[in-house]
Symmetry: none
Subunit: 224 residues, 2 copies
DNA sequence: CGCTCTATTTATAATTC
DNA sequence: TGAATTATAAATAGAGC
């Protein structure tokens, strides 16, 4: 038994563009999955490295979710008070920090500008290359043909000639193979075949509450 | 040189137990990697789903790191204004950090990141197009011809025929116009136009800095 | 640290129940 | 909604620079 019934049951995970998901439902689903994924990662980080973490997430719908280890309150307090607690110290610290942060931002700012410029340059380069390829490479169509220069048209003609030979050759192949080809192709796209089996190694992992910290799901009262 | 020296260069990723990493150095390395991984996930979540996220992480050494989209300040504010007692503390400390300059810089920073991201996406698009042009452009070449079915080959032959006519026609044009054409073409590349075909179904992916949000890495000692 | 590279382990997009 | 399943896309442990 079992047949050769191995048809793809799913296309597996697909790559997705890193941009806002327009479909509302899909976006919500993605949000749920990734939010829990994020919290899980946070949990692992805190466990593995003993880090203290606080996260607040507002869903696209505006619903707040939070994560905290040891607790969000703790993180918030440490966050706001500078850990030791005194408001005064916080003030002082804040000021100092302010300048440092500014400095850091400035540096990053400069760096970004540089990168941006480089990106622009690269873009021009690529566009040039594309243009060049259009002219030189394989087969432009119709209208484009009427823009070609002598050299281009000559070259193009050669390419065409070669292709024609290939086509003829292919024709023979097909004739020799007769109808078999049709039948074959009618069934399964032969090029799709895969090789390997492989195994989506899964593994259980905790699903609910993280060891030391806490998931404060939908509820999330503080700062809500 | 060269040898058949293909020995395993690494054992690949090893599974690790979900418990505190005792080796200090390993712990620190892990922290760095996973912190950036966490921030990246957060970035993706905010981009894909339009979520607003704020994260604060204290390294095992007590060093503070934060992430915020649109900005940590924003999250903090939305966070605090929800109104528990924390609001007071927030005003005291959080607001201090929020000098006007800083705010402005933050905005600009975000804008730059966005532009950079767009530039990157565009770049990937272009690169994809270039690649696609090589392989897939209008007419399949060589090997591909030998994969075609009867119908395909027939159709292809027709297209080729038409192209050939176009080419011939173009030949005549050129002969009539004589050398003028060369001079004209020497000036501007007329093919730059985009007409069309194809479209890089793909999408950029940033490699380093996150698009809309902000990584405030090592710098940023605020509230530490 | 911060990156790179490779081999694996994880996370998830798609789909189905 | 939520919980499986499956097939891939990503993250990352380990080892070096």
């Amino acid at each position: 038994m079992m047949m050769e019934r191995k048809k793809r049951q799913s296309m597996g995970r697909q790559k997705i563009a890193m941009k806002r998901i327009e479909n509302e439902e899909a976006r919500q689903v993605c949000f749920s999955k990734r939010r829990s994924g994020l919290f899980k990662k946070a949990t692992e980080l805190s466990i593995l490295c003993g880090a203290e973490i606080g996260i607040v997430v507002f869903s696209p719908a505006g619903k707040p979710f939070s994560f905290g280890h040891p607790s969000l309150d703790y993180i918030t307090r440490r966050f706001l008070s500078g850990g030791t607690g005194a408001a005064a110290a916080g003030q002082l610290c804040g000021m100092l920090v302010d300048s440092e942060k500014l400095h850091h931002l400035n540096e990053e700012h400069a760096g970004l500008l540089e990168k941006l410029e480089e990106a622009r340059r690269r873009r021009v380069e690529l566009e040039t290359e594309i243009a060049a390829q259009r002219v030189g490479s394989s087969l432009p169509c119709d209208m484009e043909v009427h823009e070609m220069s002598v050299e281009e048209i000559d070259n193009f003609q050669k390419v065409l000639e070669e292709l024609r030979r290939n086509v003829a050759s292919r024709h023979e192949e097909l004739q020799i193979q007769g109808m078999d080809m049709k039948m074959l192709r009618a069934g399964v796209p032969p090029l799709l075949s895969y090789g390997g089996g492989y195994l989506g190694g899964y593994n259980g992992f905790y699903l609910t509450s993280p060891p030391g910290g806490g998931y404060y799901d939908p509820g999330f009262p503080a700062w809500g």
